[in-house]
């Protein structure tokens, strides 16, 4: 699964696909390929929504100055 950044990309790509499909001069093969891609993108996007439980972390600085995001009990 891609990150939620991927969700934004998926939505933008889906819009582009719908716009392309609305153009009549598009070759039929190409239209079907776009449709297939659109369905796959939709499936990914829905995957984001169904995803996992909220992850809670706490940001801390360790003695050597490095940052650490440790899991936090909900």
């Amino acid at each position: 699964m891609t990150g939620p950044g991927g969700l934004q990309a998926d939505l933008e790509r889906l819009e582009a696909i719908v716009r392309a499909l609305e153009q009549a001069e598009l070759a039929l093969d190409r239209a079907l390929a776009l449709f297939e891609e659109g369905v796959a993108r939709l499936r990914d996007a829905r995957g984001h929504l169904a995803a996992a439980e909220l992850r809670l972390t706490q940001l801390r600085e360790s003695a050597d100055g490095s940052l650490d995001a440790a899991d936090l009990d909900g």
């Binding site: 939620p4 609305e22 939709l42 992850r55």
Partner: protein, 406 residues
């Protein structure tokens, strides 16, 4: 109180006192008076020489000359300004050179209304404004789908619990990161600055909430600290200020990219609602199948007209093609449903609620849409040559704008 003038009245045959002697006697007499608190309005404030302050305290019927010696002035949290009402603690004396009564102030504190605190706040606000930190054009839009939401607040506070509850309900597909700091008391400003600096160094954050639950004006003081406000302004990612107080606006509210009235409201602004996004995806799915269906329809029509032109020789093959095209069109919707739903009825999850992803909702999240005079949306840099006038649609109206020259 038994005050005695330190000089005996002269007998007629004695020499008269000098003016200096009488004024010195008066001074000694006044210094027997106890130290008192006086409430009054400051006027004619001036700073002289080594840093001593002179001003007049007045009320409706009387005025009193006051001095704060430089050494005491340095201990004061801020200079008073004309018009301010203060409590001044000190003692009466005389200023011999002018034969004037003078109040020597050792301590100066604000009255609840219009005191130092309000003054310091206004000074800080002006300083932030001077540095451009309050400018509307600094405000950044919030990310649409944040993967990591930072929260600078107290680990023990209600604010953190409220934010966790809202994000868990709306957008669980993310990481919620606590960056702990005390939010009230003397250490709060320093700890908030440290937490904000820590957050600024962490590369994975997409948006940062800074705040606390409701409290009295005093409880919220740390969020009126100029250094805290500057640390919020310095955040590399967009910020949401959430100080639980509807009436007062704090300095962090002013510098943050977005202000929320409560921590829960901040969480709602920080993340989208997955149900709304599901509705948006459903709309996209409809567009996709409709567009694809129409495209296949056009294909079918072309095949038909080709068939008419080409005649019987190729009729069989054409019929096959037509059949395939029709089947594809009919199958489109069903195939899409099958692939997407995996047995789950989407309709169940889609309420009849308003579409929360309407353009207005997007505008509410801080986005704006530039359009030209004809109403066309301007999407690219090329549409904005210097000097171009355009209109900026924001959530509650439209702003006339112009691209700056060079």
């Amino acid at each position: 109180m038994n005050l005695e003038f330190p000089l005996d009245l002269p007998a007629a045959e004695d020499r008269p006192f000098s003016v200096t002697e009488v004024m010195e006697g008066a001074r000694q007499l006044l210094q027997q008076l106890p130290v008192v608190w006086v409430q009054g309005e400051v006027s004619g404030f001036k700073v002289y020489g080594q840093g001593q302050w002179y001003f007049t305290l007045k009320d409706r019927a009387a005025t009193m000359s006051c001095v704060v010696w430089a050494e005491d002035a340095r201990r004061m949290p801020a200079r008073p300004e004309d018009g301010m009402t203060v409590f001044a603690r000190g003692h009466l004396t005389v200023f011999p050179k002018r034969g004037q009564l003078q109040f020597t102030v050792r301590q100066l504190i604000p009255t609840p209304e219009g005191g130092f605190h309000a003054l310091q706040l206004e000074r800080a606000r002006r300083a932030l404004e001077r540095d451009g930190l309050l400018a509307p054009e600094r405000k950044r839009p919030l990310p649409a789908f944040p993967a990591c939401v930072g929260v600078v607040t107290s680990p023990e506070g209600a604010a953190w619990r409220d934010i966790v509850a809202v994000v868990a309900r709306r957008w669980p597909a993310c990481e919620l990161m606590l960056i702990g700091a005390r939010v009230q008391g003397a250490d709060a400003p320093r700890e908030l600055c440290q937490a904000l600096a820590l957050a600024a160094r962490f590369p994975r954050l997409d948006v940062l909430i800074v705040g606390r639950g409701g409290g009295s004006a005093e409880d919220l003081q740390a969020f009126n600290d100029e250094q805290v406000a500057r640390a919020v302004a310095a955040s590399p990612v967009p910020t949401i200020s959430a100080v639980g107080h509807e009436t007062d606006v704090t300095l962090t509210d002013l510098v943050a990219d977005v202000r929320a009235a409560t921590p829960s409201a901040a969480a709602e602004k920080a993340v989208p609602d997955r149900r709304a996004v599901a509705r948006q995806l459903e709309a996209v799915r409809r567009h996709l199948t409709q567009a694809a269906g129409r495209r296949v329809e056009v294909g079918g029509m072309r095949v038909r007209s080709a068939a008419a032109r080409m005649g019987a020789a190729v009729e069989g093959r054409v019929r096959d093609a037509m059949h395939r095209a029709d089947t594809a069109r009919r199958g489109m919707d069903a195939a899409c449903e099958r692939r997407l739903h995996g047995g789950r009825a989407l309709a169940d999850r889609l309420g009849a609620a308003l579409d929360a992803l309407s353009p207005l909702r997007v505008l509410e999240r801080g986005f704006a849409v530039p359009r030209d005079a004809a109403g066309r949306v301007l999407r690219r840099m090329a549409a904005f040559p210097a000097g171009t006038p355009f209109r900026l649609r924001v959530v509650d109206g439209e702003v006339q704008a112009r691209v700056e020259e060079g």
